[in-house]
Symmetry: C2
Subunit: 313 residues, 2 copies
Amino acid sequence: MFQRITLAAIAFTLFSGVATQAAAARDNARDTPSASALLAQSRPDEWRTPDPANLLYLQLPTGRVIIELAPDFTPLHADNIRALVRAHYFDGLAVVRVQDNFVTQWGTPENAKDGYSPAPRDHGSAKTTLPPEFTRPLDAALPWTGLPDGDVYAPEVGFSEGFPAGRDRRSGEEWLLHCYGMLGVARDNDPQTGDGGTLYAVIGQARRLDRNLAVVGRVLVGMPLLSALPRGSGALGFYTPTEPHMPIRSMQVAADVPAAQRTQIQVLRTGSATFAALLDAARNRHDAFYTRAPGKVSVCDLPIPVREGATRN
Amino acid sequence: MFQRITLAAIAFTLFSGVATQAAAARDNARDTPSASALLAQSRPDEWRTPDPANLLYLQLPTGRVIIELAPDFTPLHADNIRALVRAHYFDGLAVVRVQDNFVTQWGTPENAKDGYSPAPRDHGSAKTTLPPEFTRPLDAALPWTGLPDGDVYAPEVGFSEGFPAGRDRRSGEEWLLHCYGMLGVARDNDPQTGDGGTLYAVIGQARRLDRNLAVVGRVLVGMPLLSALPRGSGALGFYTPTEPHMPIRSMQVAADVPAAQRTQIQVLRTGSATFAALLDAARNRHDAFYTRAPGKVSVCDLPIPVREGATRN
């Protein structure tokens, strides 16, 4: 059922031009194990099946993007996004901004910038302002797998059951990081103006945004549908009126989708022995191609593995 | 002449949805200066005009990508790439690989993987093997602007006249980093097999490759022409035979191009006071939008500003 492992999610593959390389690597007894070999040996209970109430489907004409919300970090934003999705707020809207090496953003259009103005939207039960959930109080009950390799921006980094996170014991805060594939809520200057009607996925270097915006989840499947879009030519990568906007067919909460139309998906537990082994193999990588191991691994550089089964529909 | 500053190169722009935000930020006396304000105050002698012998034009149907070689770090590779370019080795080849959040690669096709096999290429005076220039001996005569903010992978990081670099005083080495937009030379398992006939630009997280490949330069202009391409569906992001390959019209050394057809370009000196001010503004950023300054800046996160003039042709 889970035969296909998302390639992008286990990008610790060999970098080369020869087809014989993987075979050569396997022949070398001193080699660190490959990511695919480690995942093949993982135990079933090292994988978790995300709660469908926390999974969002962003349906584009090019395919389905699957997002996991992180309500332990941003509960009010998760609730508001679910309410907007259930009111069909996003259906018929579009991607409005793609800024190279930064973010892809969709939802509430910026009339002044992108030149199109759809009919007024139904917000359903969603609120229009929210307390800023840019950080949350440190909670020892939340899962935490520390990464001892260091970080430029945060005093401490690690993983909290599937999400890269930062911690500051001095201030007593923890927060999700703007790593590749993370989902954030755009806002205006007032920190309370992020209602979830405009979302962005990180497609480049965006750690400078940490603790200034609510990071509400992670794209588990379909990042290339967002990262390979044409960059907007307007300021900050906003699309101009003459540029085509990738339309949003719908956003749905997976729990609201008939079971037969859901995508079967599992995420490797970041507290598992296999995840620890993946981190270690990345640090100490030595094989037919890598002559010098990186020695360390940065918190944003090891994508958390996701595996998909066949969509039943 | 240099009126247009590449937006992507000064990505320290505001992140918001309201057009009034920039104005609001300017009104706040406590705000850190914006990147555009700092650049507007820069002195002419803080900018350098790259040597046209070190500039490559990668001509795609969608536009011109401009690359600066770094012969101080990888002199033999720079010579070999120039020789290949002058033998028209690349003309008529194509982009062969786009791996999401990693690299875009072009040049010598991998017949087994991408299914097309052009006529044998003329290598001109280029060599087919090269000593691996993955690091070079530390040289106090090379420009160096250290970055005190720390790094996960390298003991010391900074900038060497336009290129992000790492240093290890213990081993006596320095090397260029796999930051976004950097150019590398692909190779097979044997470290001497990178001849420059296959090049890659970093479009994502690739620091794990540091010191395992020759980093030979940086894309100064045109990254979106490489970063927004469709991802290859084959292993490692290689294109399969049925996927369209973005063709290379030509690669040229700018010095060989008639002056009237060259792009006028300048790069901010990384030893300049304005570059130091940009780093400082990034660390301490506080304005109408940013309520918490990042405190630090990572070596790959501040793109080195490039400004272009009109192309005379």
